[in-house]
């Protein structure tokens, strides 16, 4: 039995320290996932706590036939989606149709900045562009390109077919690429003027 399974067993027996250790194995990953999903440290902290509280309460229903990390990520994804939905309901009158807006690609003739360190301001622009993707796209970008999960793992986490993973990754990157190109080149021009 590996450490993870041992910790799960002990947590189920009511061992609080074991559960703390179990949390420590995943908290940074889950927090970073939530942070990229929300682009806000406070929301990310709240959501991460919510995720682990759900994990704690539902640990006994975790079935051993899937990976524990997959299970936690799926809870994280659903928690973030739920949060997004609630927020959208609140923001709807001001922010109508934000999803459609994202589908407009404004390609720029300039290539992405090559061989240079990303500056603080550029880093913020990148975060903003990620934040503007729709949650399904954001999720695959985070899991694939920031956290390095395989296509198969992403399919398991999000519980979607492989074909959907492929096309979502493809479209998410294309959208992000075009958004970044127009934002970053605009940024460059302003700096020149």
């Amino acid at each position: 039995m590996n450490i993870e399974s041992q910790l799960i067993e002990k947590s189920l027996d009511g061992d609080a320290t074991a559960f703390e250790e179990l949390v420590a194995l995943f908290d940074k990953k889950v927090y970073n996932y939530c942070y990229r999903m929300t682009n806000n440290v406070d929301d990310a902290e709240d959501l991460t706590q919510e995720v682990f509280i759900k994990v704690y309460r539902n640990l006994k229903s975790f079935r051993r036939d899937s990976k524990f990390s997959t299970w936690i990520y799926r809870i994280a994804y659903n928690t973030c989606i739920d949060n997004h939905r609630k927020r959208r309901l609140k923001l709807l009158p001001l922010n109508r149709g934000d999803d459609e807006q994202q589908d407009i690609d404004i390609p720029s003739p300039n290539p992405l900045p090559e061989d240079q360190v990303i500056s603080g301001e550029q880093y913020d622009i990148i975060k903003e562009c990620i934040a503007q993707l729709k949650p399904e796209y954001k999720s695959v970008i985070i899991l694939r390109d920031i956290q390095n999960y395989s296509y198969q793992e992403i399919a398991d986490i999000l519980n979607i077919p492989m074909g959907t993973v492929k096309s979502n990754i493809s479209r998410a990157r294309a959208q992000l690429r075009n958004a970044l190109k127009s934002r970053l080149s605009g940024y460059g021009e302003r700096r020149v003027r």
């Binding site: 991460t48 509280i53 229903s61 992405l112 880093y123 390109d145 296509y151 190109k181």
Partner: protein, 269 residues
């Protein structure tokens, strides 16, 4: 094929998940298309930028805060309230079952005990069911402590309602419970009448996650879940009966996919 089509090849190409034929086709196109080649390079650059974003550190005191929160939640449930709620659940269950069994077995004379089965056997059945309900109560508390206070009342109300407003339904459900030992979802469309507005498709999604059901799709008021075996159908029945009154409205019993529709309204009187 045009460039829009090939744009979809860029990502899988970079991640090396294209098959040989597609790869060949795409590489041949790249040789003749500077536009796609540029997009390929930009996507490659994007992936490298994203890879460099790295991890953000956890906020100060993250773990302490969370465990404090968890402990607080635990305190609410333990130690006495926990057992009390279990017992209240069990007792309420016995009372409700006693009434419904009498009503079903002998609808004309509510006060009389059934003559067909021995009272001892009947009591034994009831205890089984009651302890089952107590267990449900416990897992329900674990799911959401916000509603636990209302839990007892709500449950009894719901059961009482089902007797007065829909006696036929109550009988068929009870028969169902006796024939299989436990209820199960059988058709492809199920309505759940809930009074608690906090119950949303997200609640159903959580149920799906917790029980590792295959969640197929979800919209504003329903979800579709794949049922892989009888056990899952029974678990789903138990879970849904905790939310409200179940009404099977599907025509087919052959489908593996079950749509669960949430009805945010009190059941018609």
């Amino acid at each position: 094929m045009d460039c829009r089509h090939f744009d979809e090849y860029i990502s899988p190409y970079l991640d090396q998940v294209l098959d040989e034929k597609e790869k060949d086709l795409f590489e041949r196109h790249l040789n003749n298309c500077p536009e796609c080649k540029k997009n390929l390079e930009d996507t490659r650059r994007l992936i490298s930028i994203l890879g460099d974003l790295g991890e953000e550190p956890l906020p100060q005191g993250f773990q302490e805060n969370m465990f404090r929160k968890l402990e607080k939640l635990e305190d609410v449930q333990k130690p006495n309230g926990h057992y009390w709620l279990r017992w209240i659940g069990a007792i309420a269950g016995v009372i409700v079952m006693l009434f419904s069994i009498k009503a079903i077995k002998n609808p004309l004379s509510m006060g009389e005990m059934s003559k067909n089965s021995s009272p001892v056997q009947e009591m034994a059945d009831e205890v089984d069911i009651a302890s089952d309900m107590a267990l449900h109560d416990e897992s329900y508390i674990a799911m959401d402590d916000n509603v636990e206070a209302e839990r007892g009342d709500y449950d009894e109300d719901a059961q009482d309602d089902s007797q007065s407003a829909a006696p036929k339904r109550a009988i068929s459900e009870a028969e169902n419970q006796y024939s299989n030992g436990i209820g199960s979802i059988q058709t492809d469309i199920v309505e759940v009448y809930v009074e608690d507005i906090c119950i949303t498709p997200q609640t159903l999604k959580d149920i799906a996650i917790n029980n590792q059901f295959e969640l197929i799709e979800a919209d504003d008021n329903s979800v579709v879940i794949e049922m892989r075996d009888q056990t899952e159908r029974e678990i789903l029945y138990q879970e849904l009966s905790k939310l409200g009154e179940i009404r099977e409205v599907g025509q087919s019993t052959e489908e593996n996919l079950v749509r669960i529709v949430i009805k945010n309204q009190a059941k018609p009187e």
